[in-house]
Subunit: 339 residues, 4 copies
């Protein structure tokens, strides 16, 4: 039997943590040895989520992980990841951080967009942005992978073919729709079921943390210095993300370019009609639909992912597989539960 | 007691028809004397919708309306309205047409976007576009009001302050989210409950009938010849519409302009934060939220309506009130059912 | 112009409070002079619910109501109603209490089911149970009306024809499904949108507060001492309630009995097929569907209401109309918003 | 490498067919060699469901399966299964039939409940009812397995501990709530999204096909001749089933009995509080919650399954595994997607 990698999940009781555990339990080369939770410290995981009882019945949620392990997945608030990462790296652990704490090279962004000073610019420098379709080579040998946000994943995969080809882009206007799980598991008034049921609304129109994350990758990969007009919207669904990009750029025939760019990618496909969010729920897939609109001289791209899948936890496992030299799709779904 | 206006509703069993009847039943100056339905001809309305039995129990759904009446509301397919309108006008009836058959002055648009030749260009010429906040004066004396589509209502009210002031606009990118009732009452595969539940997707990205409708009003009111980049999306809710406009235009301070433009309007309000669709469901309200984004030099405007309310049936009643010289808000809600 | 009744709403920011205000604003004989809220004291109602701003813009949410008024609606937690009612009655106010604090004559029930000692048995004695179809006569002259719970309303209206006729009943098994608004407006984990979306589950199977409320009316009206087997269930909808009663009783032909019992009632109708919750949302209606099952010798009755309508706030207004001698249906809907 | 079993799926484009394919694609010992569809004959499966394109891209939907195979899963209408089964058995194929055509031994039931004469009483006799927790021994050597309906699965697993112990039962009252996928994939008016959204209602109260199916197993296993009072309800969710049983029987301590009965079963667990449907979605699990109510001398049992999982397709794969001598849980989930 092949050797198992021992992993810890920090922040096991949020949505990304639960999704991650769910995937890791199907992974033939992983053993989960530790789970942490701020809100449920001391409980068994099966007391919080009964469906985990059988597989993880003996695991108690702790503040920290004492057991030996090889790699930590961090599903915690940004501020907590910020401080935990240096400690784990010092211990020689590999880390995949699902928070935003190490996604952006420029530390100044953090004080403006996250509200804290980033005291570890050197670690920022070493962190690899975990979007495999762009940074696979670096991920392979990374000690710290900063797993991308859900909005950036859906948007950057839609832009990458243009960036790679250095297409000249003038303006990008993005509307992204997200299911409510993207806002986390903590109950709040406007996501209380009776209020969100039948509701949908835009938010954070002035300033969203994912904007500098997207712009910094665009700059790095495409050598482009553009400001995105980004409007996030929540819709009454649990999961799923749909991004609509209107890109004003030099005229191209996009379908061929998009197909070519992702020809060897297993988790990015070009759809032949506008894709449905429901076709990617529970999977690691991103479906793209590019379209040139001659009326407005605009490239329209539709991108769908599962915000907890390719937008978070399954992408983290994809990164894990790359880091460990495993087959990249190990334990990852491509077919959604339907309906 | 004041005199009642006798009205007929053609196409009474679709969603806009039902919503219209519901409002008209609360209207103190209206008597419904005839209802038609293609699909349920010969049935009583109470057999199709039991909740109408008590108020309209004796009314049978017919192919045509024989009774004498003053005004007809048409909630039928475009092609049927197209042919019925001339006949009713000849009979001296007033008509409020909720279809698209008489919304656009240029008859050529119909062959391109609706798939039929429009044989009544003279009537097109006389028809008044029923958006009261823009065309109130003309509506007062119109014999035929072409009630706007839901997408155009939400978009044009968001653009009107700019059009009125002749603000120079370079580009407009619009994403509009709609509840499923906007697609009509006929069951189809992708709106079958198990499939639409948890799903959301963009559609008609190449060509949507409401685009020329919007562009022709923009041209008429703002003397602007612009092509809109318009992306409609359906989300898993029954009702409601949210439009997100990214407008690249000369720099303005929008809040004052928007408040000023709509100061005397009862059904358009400027919200102080991004408005929720749920706050307008069941009402005739439109809530607007304008915001200048200095990062992208872009005016962002959020607009919410109920697609069956201000986007269709309650707006039709608002037009009716104007045409009849009644108080404009008669029978119209401003407060939503909540939650 | 006819005289307005001045009313206060205690607990204005919960779901029953909001629904009540919404109805009262349409009531031609009501003036709202005071609103209280524990959680939002000091804010204007329009800051909490922007859609109330126009109609109630000047009203500030207070801890108590200082203004003169005639009648108070209490939409507060049971414990708060318990103590407030005696004080208001002493001041000569009329009171309609939507909490459970004065619904059950036997004060001992309160320690067992509500967890508090009930110190006002004399007031319990005087309180009238506000189910108009059963207690209309007493409501007319009541100073304190204890407005029924949503489950009891749906169940008791389904049982009343049997109770009135003193039909011998052996067993009653009830399953009641409720939308989530019945659980209140305070955000909690399992009603957080992503968790309740697609979920449904039974709860409080051992002991539910509404059981003694139902049993005490059954005993009083039907002289029957039976223990109900009652299973409440929550389903992923905002509003609505569906009760399914399986009644083992002497053989009857129920349809005629039910129609006869409610022949003169405006808000209770006998449906000719199993009624949909959606047909009563936003209304004060109760639809009943009785059916004798010869296979099991069992009377099956289906009952649907809006839990916030006939199950709470519109029923409170119905009681108000009766107490004030107004037309009983004033301001009350019988036609739902659809779809 | 171990030998693959070649299977055909008849009726591949309905919900149970799609779910089945999804599970079979994860099964290490299965090769799908043929798919049929009445409604999409001639299309590739990837044209109907794009997410199947990669795994099954070359498979065309046919009327019949010409390829050689070992076992057929039938996900077709009852009438079609009725006629196909004899033909396939004659060819020596093994068959798992997900329709109701071979579930009930007494052929007379079919004319009364299904509306057709059953011309194959001898095959009915040989068919094994595919509820592994009751009939595992017979399933092992069956050529034809009649896969249970979703309602019977949830109800019979809740009753089995009593039947096995020959507990005396007087009455059983059942309310079962189902997601809409249980009604099939064909669009119909009342399951059109805008109408079902926020709705819930009971149906088929007089006569439901699953009643004789349940009663015949109860008779066979428990030697009990009882008539069930059964009320099915649809709720606004895509998947899931919750059954609430009120069982009037001799007094027992149920928890120990239920735990003991299912101690060795992997897919039936006794929950320590009322289980959520969401905890079994996408799995083959059944969660049971038994409770003795001393007030009514009634045993209450709550049972949850995924109607398309343990209620249909994953149970079919469980039966398949048993028939083939594979590990019973092969390819089957026990952990739900959450949220």
């Amino acid at each position: 039997m092949e050797q198992e990698i021992k992993v810890a999940v920090y922040g096991a009781t949020g949505y990304t943590g639960v999704e991650l555990i769910n995937i890791l339990l199907k992974h033939p080369r992983v053993k989960i040895v530790g789970l942490t939770s701020q809100s449920h410290t001391g409980k068994k995981i099966g007391d919080v989520f009964p469906f985990f009882e059988e597989c993880l019945g003996d695991l108690t949620l702790t503040q920290d992980v004492e057991e030996e392990y090889d790699l930590a997945f961090l599903c915690m608030p940004h501020e907590q990841s910020l401080e935990l990462v240096p400690r784990l790296l010092n211990q020689g652990k590999k880390v995949i951080d699902l928070s935003g704490a190490y996604r952006i090279k420029n530390p100044k962004i953090y004080s403006e967009y996250y509200g804290f000073e980033h005291g570890y610019p050197d670690i920022l420098e070493k962190a690899v942005y975990g979007l495999p379709e762009i940074y696979r080579g670096l991920i392979k040998s990374a000690q710290l992978v900063a797993n991308p946000g859900c909005y950036p994943t859906s948007v950057l995969l839609a832009l990458y073919p243009l960036l790679k080809e250095k297409i000249k882009i003038e303006k990008v206007v993005i509307t992204s729709l997200s299911g409510i799980s993207g806002a986390g598991r903590k109950p709040v008034q406007h996501f209380h079921f009776p209020e969100m049921f039948g509701d949908f609304f835009a938010y954070s129109l002035h300033k969203h943390r994912h904007v500098p994350e997207m712009e910094s990758v665009i700059k790095e990969v495409g050598q482009l210095d553009i400001s995105l007009r980004f409007s996030p919207v929540v819709v009454p669904a649990s999961r799923g993300m749909l991004s609509i990009l209107s890109i004003f750029c030099e005229k191209i025939e996009p379908v061929e370019l998009y197909i070519e760019t992702y020809r060897c990618e297993r988790f990015v496909k070009i759809a032949s009609e506008p894709p449905h969010v429901k076709h990617v729920l529970g999977t690691n897939m991103c479906l793209l639909y590019p379209l040139w609109d001659p009326r407005t001289n605009c490239l329209q791209v539709i991108s769908v992912i599962d915000n907890l899948g390719k937008g978070a936890s399954s992408q983290a496992v994809q990164n894990f597989n790359i880091m460990m030299g495993f087959e990249e799709g190990m334990a990852l779904n491509t077919i959604p539960n339907f309906p």
